[in-house]
């Protein structure tokens, strides 16, 4: 694993967009060429800084979607009232440059302490992005820890990485709940994540699991509280809030 992933001074550096691909109607993945990139840990993020020609600057953070040994990729959801996301999802072309800083974060990373802990990932909307990195990394290192992803999305067309998640590695279970719209004949869960649904999917606390919750702030707080209510120690529930009102 890249030992320099979290140590030392961070500096802004120029990244060039290598390729773009649309995940859904409002979500796009950008592959970035970052000279001298020292690698990252699964779950980390990077900061993006855009400068307009009159000097106006905007900064945002995005989770890294790729596994540690893959080229850097970020997945961006276009927010209706966004300032940066419309640019990254609609304007940016391969060959364009912008500044990035990273990788960042030593908390929301996997593995964490005991790599054999059963892994519970809970994603609200675009909160699934760091989990793609984590699940790819888990597969690459040949980990056999039990892993479950509970993914709350507005509708099936809003599910990011659907094809990739539809062909999970052997022991990764993906459970969806669609909050606003379900396709005809849907037999999966509907509506927001409830304590009852958490009770069904969460690894029992006695198995010493570790949970990662990522997505809009309201989703994260509700789900994290639900897990603590099930008996998860708070320090075994890791949270990363995306804020905003987008999401399921």
């Amino acid at each position: 694993m890249a030992g320099t992933a979290v140590r030392g001074r961070l500096t802004w550096q120029v990244a060039t967009v290598g390729s773009v691909s649309d995940e859904t109607a409002s979500v796009r993945t950008l592959e970035l060429d970052v000279p001298g990139w020292a690698g990252h840990q699964a779950g980390q993020h990077l900061d993006v800084r855009l400068t307009a020609d009159d000097g106006y600057v905007a900064e945002r953070s995005y989770s890294i979607a790729s596994a540690p040994d893959e080229p850097v990729m970020i997945t961006v959801e276009r927010l209706a009232d966004g300032e940066v996301s419309p640019y990254l999802t609609e304007e940016v072309r391969p060959g364009d440059d912008f500044e990035i800083r990273g990788p960042i974060g030593g908390y929301f990373v996997w593995p964490w302490q005991d790599p054999d802990s059963p892994l519970l990932l809970l994603a609200g909307g675009s909160g699934v992005v760091p989990f793609r990195s984590i699940l790819r990394h888990r597969a690459k290192i040949g980990s056999t820890v039990p892993a479950r992803l509970l993914y709350s999305a507005r509708s099936l067309p809003d599910v990011i990485y659907h094809a990739e998640l539809a062909t999970p590695r052997d022991d990764v279970e993906v459970i969806y709940t669609l909050t606003r719209q379900q396709p005809a004949g849907w037999t999966g869960h509907s509506g927001r994540v409830t304590d009852a649904l958490l009770g069904e999917v969460a690894w029992p606390p006695g198995q010493h699991p570790i949970a990662y919750v990522c997505g809009p702030t309201a989703f994260v707080e509700s789900v994290a509280a639900g897990l603590v209510g099930l008996g998860y120690p708070p320090d075994r529930v890791k949270t990363e809030r995306y804020g905003g009102v987008g999401g399921p």
Partner: protein, 83 residues
């Protein structure tokens, strides 16, 4: 705009302290609660970045960016210990 958490200022804190700080333990000077920086309440969309205690709401740290300098007020922290 909803509140975020300390993950959102990981880059800023690394710029200020020269080290990864989201796993650092912050102790609130107002209520004494200790917790990792990643789990503090953070408001980014302000004239400055405001970090608040998740337990009591008191301000822990404020960072105001002035020209290219980060002005850091950490009086709300009784302690900040990198892990």
């Amino acid at each position: 705009m909803d509140a975020l958490d300390g993950n959102a200022i990981g880059g800023l804190l690394q710029e200020i302290f020269g080290a990864e700080m989201t796993t650092a333990v912050a102790t609130c000077a107002t209520c004494g609660t200790a917790g990792v920086v990643a789990e503090t309440v953070v408001y980014l969309r302000a004239p400055g970045t405001v970090m608040r205690c998740r337990t009591c709401g008191a301000v822990l740290m404020v960072v105001v960016r002035r020209e290219d300098v980060n002005c850091v007020d950490a009086e709300g922290l009784a302690a900040l210990e990198p892990s």
